[in-house]
């Protein structure tokens, strides 16, 4: 019998700690497959954040850092500048990247660090139990916005892809979604492209994944995907927000 699907060599086969229905596992796999397809696993260094994906280092079959909260792009900068031959990627959630780590991601992108950032946006703090995230949708109920996010007091959710796309420095910035197999296949192509831009030493690359949190949203996995499609997609438009070829300034 012919084997048509198996584990990727880019990942370790241990069971994951993620909740049922969480899309982190799929996103990990897209990254793991890319490390193998581009032949870069043996020179890859990944950076785990703080949050639900804190244990990312247990799942990728490559050298890994575990960084402090929000600082993965700074750790990546240190690693990449000192060993440019490495392929360095950060894996961060919305609290990590868009709240405590806002400064680090903006400046890493602005310096045009040749790193790849995987940003998982599920509009909530998962690890700590479902508090409001910087990307929580207006009106969305969380454990710290029991009446729903009130934009008069909490402001509007941060659109990180759009914010980073404003920078003059060339970069590759894209937003993808995990709500259907078709979108996952598209996401895979974009992840691959993001890593290719690093491998060719072209520019900073950033992929924002719209994701779910069935546990803290209090919904089934299927309902979560539907909720994401209905409520998150209109606010967070998908697609390539910035590509280096269309930008003036040239590569460093």
């Amino acid at each position: 019998m012919r084997k048509i699907f198996s584990h990727t060599e880019g990942m370790i086969t241990d069971p994951m700690h993620y909740c049922p229905g969480c899309t982190h596992g799929i996103i990990h796999r897209l990254v793991g497959e890319t490390l193998i397809e581009l032949g870069i696993r043996e020179r890859a260094v990944g950076i785990s954040p703080v949050g639900c994906s804190v244990f990312t280092y247990k799942y990728f079959r490559c050298d890994m850092f575990q960084a402090s909260h929000g600082r993965a792009p700074a750790v990546a900068t240190g690693a990449k500048r000192c060993r440019p031959e490495l392929v360095v990627f950060c894996y961060q959630g919305d609290g990590d990247l868009a709240a405590i780590g806002t400064s680090e991601i903006i400046h890493a992108a602005n310096r045009g660090e040749k790193i790849t950032c995987i940003f998982v946006n599920n509009a909530i703090y998962g690890m700590t139990g479902g508090q409001m995230a910087p990307t929580t949708i207006p009106g969305q109920r969380t454990s710290t916005t029991p009446g729903g996010r009130n934009v008069a007091e909490d402001g509007f959710p941060l659109k990180m892809s759009e914010i980073l796309s404003q920078l003059q420095t060339p970069g590759y910035i894209a937003r993808v979604s995990m709500h259907s197999p078709a979108e996952i296949i598209k996401a895979k192509q974009i992840v691959r492209k993001a890593f290719e831009y690093q491998v060719s030493n072209t520019c900073f690359s950033f992929v924002e994944f719209l994701s779910t949190c069935p546990t803290n949203w209090g919904m089934s996995p299927v309902d979560s995907l539907n909720w994401m499609k209905t409520n998150m997609l209109p606010y967070y438009p998908l697609g390539e927000h910035k590509i280096p070829e269309k930008h003036e300034g040239g590569s460093r």
């Binding site: 043996e42 700074a74 031959e85 680090e104 903006i106």
Partner: protein, 358 residues
């Protein structure tokens, strides 16, 4: 190599290159700016990298990333910036990474002042950041010693896989003195480390982390770290004794540049027929307690002189172990006790000895 006249901050930068450090990350702050400015020009000349960061928080995490891939790395800052680096220092210690951090101390607390002070002794030696760890902290008293201790800092950081702080009172960075460097253009690179993240070709993947959720494992890790620290204390504590061969009633304790003022005061007191000894820790962490005790017990009373409110005083009192009284004289805010201040304080301490004051 012939001696050249150099500003302390620039000399430390050059010393780093002579130690084989080709990577510097830093954020501007007075009074250490000459150090990154010097390296921003010098590092590209020797194939190195200078990166100006967006904050000291980011800096401390960039040096975490650099150290984790197994290269020699340094940053420098001054007091308020060092507070912001506390996060990275704790993670460096937790993940057992070598890095050198220069603190050209200015007056504190808060934004306080930009003039030289010794305001961060306690922060450097006790309360650096969260968690169970110790820095190795070296306190130079001259530009030449700053050069020598910078080179030593890298050796100790790598030997013990522990972050090392070079603790200079702002003056060290600002003053010009003749210095001599080792006769090399650039020091040799760091040896390949079996923990460094260099890509997993031909081996199992590695992890650089300070996360240990298993309490038994974390307990063991911290015990291991402190066993290593005991070795550092036994083997690396350094101090200077000044004018301690002749009998003395009063022993002055001072560190950094303050010790130079005290030396001048001791010379003047000699002219008055008063012999005063001085003990200066060169490693303020580990503090050379036994050596300090030995010097203290040859005196009748101790005078601790600092450019702060008495942050080293507790280490001196511990070394005195309740057997000698320790007087304190300090100025802060950017003021430095003068030779006259020290002489006056020595007379006051002598009067207490004569008067039998406790």
């Amino acid at each position: 190599m012939a001696k050249i006249l150099m500003k302390g901050n620039e000399a430390i930068g050059e010393a780093a290159i002579k130690a084989g450090c080709l990577h510097f990350f830093g954020y501007p702050i007075t009074p250490q700016n000459e150090l990154p400015e010097y390296l921003s020009k010098r590092l590209p000349q020797v194939g190195g990298k200078y990166i100006q960061t967006e904050s000291e928080v980011a800096t401390s995490n960039m040096i975490f990333g650099a150290a984790g891939v197994g290269v020699r790395v340094m940053t420098s800052s001054s007091s308020p910036g060092i507070s912001l680096m506390s996060e990275g220092l704790s993670y460096l210690a937790g993940a057992e990474l070598p890095a050198v951090i220069v603190n050209m101390m200015r007056a504190g607390p808060g934004l306080a002042g930009i003039l030289p002070a010794q305001s961060d002794y306690a922060h450097a030696t006790r309360g650096t950041a969260h968690g169970d760890f110790e820095l190795i902290v070296l306190a130079p008293s001259s530009v030449q010693e700053a050069v020598d201790l910078t080179i030593l800092s890298f050796e100790l950081a790598e030997k013990y896989r522990n972050p090392v702080m070079l603790l200079g009172d702002g003056m060290i960075g600002q003053m010009m003195e003749p210095v001599e460097f080792p006769d090399v253009e650039v020091g040799p690179p760091m040896k390949a480390a079996d923990w460094a993240l260099t890509g997993c070709k031909g081996r199992e993947p590695r992890l650089v982390s300070s996360l240990f959720l298993d309490p038994v494992e974390l307990n063991e890790k911290n015990h291991e770290r402190f066993a290593r620290y005991k070795v550092i204390k036994d083997n690396e504590a350094r101090h200077e004794l000044y004018n301690c061969d002749e009998p003395y009633d009063v022993l002055i304790t001072a560190f950094g540049v303050m010790s130079r003022v005290c030396k001048s005061a001791i010379q003047e007191l000699k002219g008055q027929g008063i012999n005063v000894g001085m003990f200066r820790p060169i490693t303020v962490k580990p503090f050379p307690s036994e050596q300090c005790s030995a010097a203290i017990f040859k005196s009748k009373r101790v005078l601790d002189v600092e450019m702060n409110m008495g942050q080293m005083l507790v280490d001196i009192q511990l070394a005195a172990n309740g057997k000698r009284e320790v007087d304190f004289m300090g100025k802060c805010g950017g003021l430095t006790p003068s030779i006259e201040d020290v002489i006056e304080s020595v007379h006051s301490t002598l009067a207490k000895i004569k008067g039998g004051v406790a």
